[in-house]
């Protein structure tokens, strides 16, 4: 691949100089594949990092120590036997704990699945293994991926590695924090309304939501099936690109999987943005967005222009309706998907004299407050007398959002916005007021409703010293263009070293 492989945003040159927990995924894979170091030593280093640091961060619900070391040994054995161990040989990956791992606890950070051992692997988990990557642990999340802060985990919150008094964002907060803290160079999350991009922004790493259907959802425990999409985390754009290429591509086990190969994104990382037309979405960058966030988005626009793109303001009016539509559609789908937790086939059972009583007792004891709220909101939106006013209307609004994006993409190749209106907030700031928590998703939700891809790139720090992410949005299947532009943004931050993603990589704990 390109020279970018050995030049992360920190400008650290040369794979041989970069060891331990700072190395990028591509550097580690190159070292393992060349025999410079063993996969087992890579995994041991990261397990030691987790042992030393995760007591404070709580990125993981479960560390897969035994499995990871065994998988690393297999990679080393394949190498010794002269076989190709795969493009991500020996690279540790944090898996969001809603991705099924056969025989390894998969909880969705919920009491209702505590202790459950899935009888199969998610497709992404199987593909990671085939690529030589090493699943190193199951990462914390808001229960059933419902939340924006990871505070709704039944097993306690994850702390932001940049400031342990603040949330890492959610719902894939564990995966994002693991990558930011150096526990793993790569992470997988799921993004239903921003759950990869928001924690990526808050933790100062790259996070990407692919086009709906680009990555198989087989083995991703369902939240809102028409919105859920698995996406990669990395400390560099090139790492996230490499991970996407490994997990994406058609899967016959997911009937909504797009019948196409994985997008070739690594090959275009150096292609630049010369001549690209990029629209700055006024509705997502206006009032309600903190001034420091707006300044970083403006700086990103300037960097893209300096690289030859043409950046103009664009209005995408229906995006202002995204939040309301999402918080009707996603809970509606969730209320249906979560009906399966009835204490019969798996998970928690609380005994009662009758089956119906057992169902109620199990669900009541097993689900946390936010999950109950969303189940009830969705049940209400779907119930007789309210269906047309809420769920039906929200589905029509979804059409309006798709139309407005389509109109914007007639004039622009990509769109630009903040990933979130603010930087990471302190623990407890929004838990008592669910609506204020929901508002953190305002910039990320429209892409999920449209089924389009988007990527969050770390772009400096806010007035509070916390990372800020800028979001690039594109039409369906525009992943290569998104990654080109993301690479330009990353590069534009590289030389300065003050407030860039490089600074965002340092552990401040």
């Amino acid at each position: 691949m390109s020279e970018r492989d050995t030049s992360g945003p920190g400008g650290r040159q040369g794979a041989e100089e970069v060891g331990g927990l700072e190395a990028s995924a591509l550097q580690l894979a190159a070292q393992v594949r060349s025999g410079a170091r063993s996969a087992v030593s890579v995994v041991e280093d990261h397990l030691a990092g987790i042992a030393a640091g995760d007591g404070e961060i709580h990125a993981f619900n479960h560390v897969m120590e035994e499995e990871a070391l065994a998988a690393a040994s297999r990679v080393d054995e394949r190498l010794a036997a002269g076989e190709d161990p795969g493009p991500l040989a020996g690279v540790p990956v944090a898996l969001k704990d809603n991705l099924c791992t056969r025989g390894v606890p998969t909880t969705c950070s919920s009491r209702i699945l505590e202790g459950w051992l899935p009888p199969y692997d998610a497709t992404v988990v199987a593909r990671l293994a085939a690529s030589g990557a090493i699943a190193i642990g199951k990462a914390n999340l808001d229960e059933f991926a419902m939340g924006s802060s990871t505070e709704h985990s039944a097993f306690g919150p994850t702390r932001n590695p940049h400031d342990t008094g603040r949330v890492p964002g959610g719902s894939s907060g564990g995966s994002a924090a693991a990558v930011a803290a150096g526990f793993a160079p790569l992470g997988l999350g799921s993004d239903t309304g921003g759950s990869v991009r928001l924690p990526a922004a808050y933790c100062g790493v790259v996070g990407m939501k692919p086009t709906y259907g680009a990555v198989s959802r087989y083995g991703l425990i369902a939240f809102a099936s028409s919105l859920d999409q698995i996406g990669p985390f990395g400390r560099t754009v090139a790492d996230a690109a490499a991970l996407l290429e490994v997990v994406a591509g058609h899967d016959p086990l997911d009937s909504t999987s797009i019948d196409a190969p994985a997008p070739a994104v690594s090959a275009v990382l150096d292609a630049g943005v010369e001549g690209l037309r990029i629209g700055l979405v006024t509705e997502l960058s206006g009032e309600g967005t903190d001034p420091d966030v707006r300044r970083r988005v403006a700086a990103a626009a300037e960097a893209l222009e300096a690289a030859g793109a043409k950046v103009e303001d664009v209005s995408v009016p229906a995006t202002t309706l995204g939040l309301s539509a999402y918080y009707l559609i996603a809970p509606a789908e969730a209320s249906s998907n979560l009906a399966r937790y009835d204490g019969v086939r798996y998970g928690l059972r609380v005994d009662a004299p009758t089956n119906g009583g057992m169902n109620v007792a199990s669900r009541t004891a097993g689900f946390g407050d936010e999950v109950k709220r969303r189940i009830m909101l969705g049940t209400y939106a779907l119930s007789a007398g309210y269906y047309d006013a809420y769920y039906g209307k929200a589905q029509q609004v979804r059409t309006l959002i798709i139309r407005d994006f389509a109109a914007a993409y007639e004039r622009f190749d990509l769109l630009l916005s903040p990933t979130a209106p603010t930087t990471a907030f302190p623990f407890g700031a929004k838990t008592a007021d669910p609506l204020s928590m929901y508002l953190t998703d305002v910039c990320t939700i429209p892409s999920n409703l449209a089924g389009d891809p988007a990527i969050s790139v770390p772009y400096g720090l806010g007035d509070d010293g916390m990372p800020i992410g800028v979001q690039l949005l594109g039409p369906a299947l525009s992943e290569p263009t998104l990654f080109r532009a993301a690479a330009v943004l990353e590069h534009s931050m590289a030389p300065t070293g003050d407030g860039g993603p490089a600074a965002g990589r340092e552990r401040t704990t």
Partner: protein
């Protein structure tokens, strides 16, 4: 209704004006029943206020004129996806049953479902 001030959240005072119009405590109790959840009196109070706030925010969607706009249920233009009907390995029976709360004769065991009033 009884709302403990400490549970209202920062915007709690704003909720009271519209809470009764948006969703009633009785609605919330009914929905909890439909969703197979049992809520305490305090949870009913709290969820009524919180759900009302979200539904009030959804006013922008609810009040929108969407006459003639087709609904979107799914982002992809999906048609039926078919495959050849061939025998393939399925999940391991013992592994699946091992995850069940109660099993009898290789089947999931549940409490009596007939004659219950639930």
């Amino acid at each position: 209704m009884r709302i403990r001030t400490s549970e209202r959240g920062r915007a709690g005072h704003l909720y009271d004006a519209f809470v009764a119009e948006r969703i009633t405590r009785e609605d919330v109790a009914h929905v909890a029943d439909l969703a197979r959840l049992s809520l305490s009196e305090e949870e009913l109070d709290l969820f009524t206020v919180q759900l009302a706030a979200v539904l009030d925010h959804a006013e922008d969607v609810e009040s929108l004129d969407t006459e003639g706009v087709p609904p979107t249920a799914h982002p992809l233009p999906l048609v039926n996806v078919l495959r050849e009907d061939v025998v393939r390995p399925s999940l391991d029976r013992a592994e699946v049953l091992a995850a069940a709360p109660a099993v009898e004769d290789d089947r999931f065991r549940v409490p009596p479902a007939l004659g219950e009033e639930q």
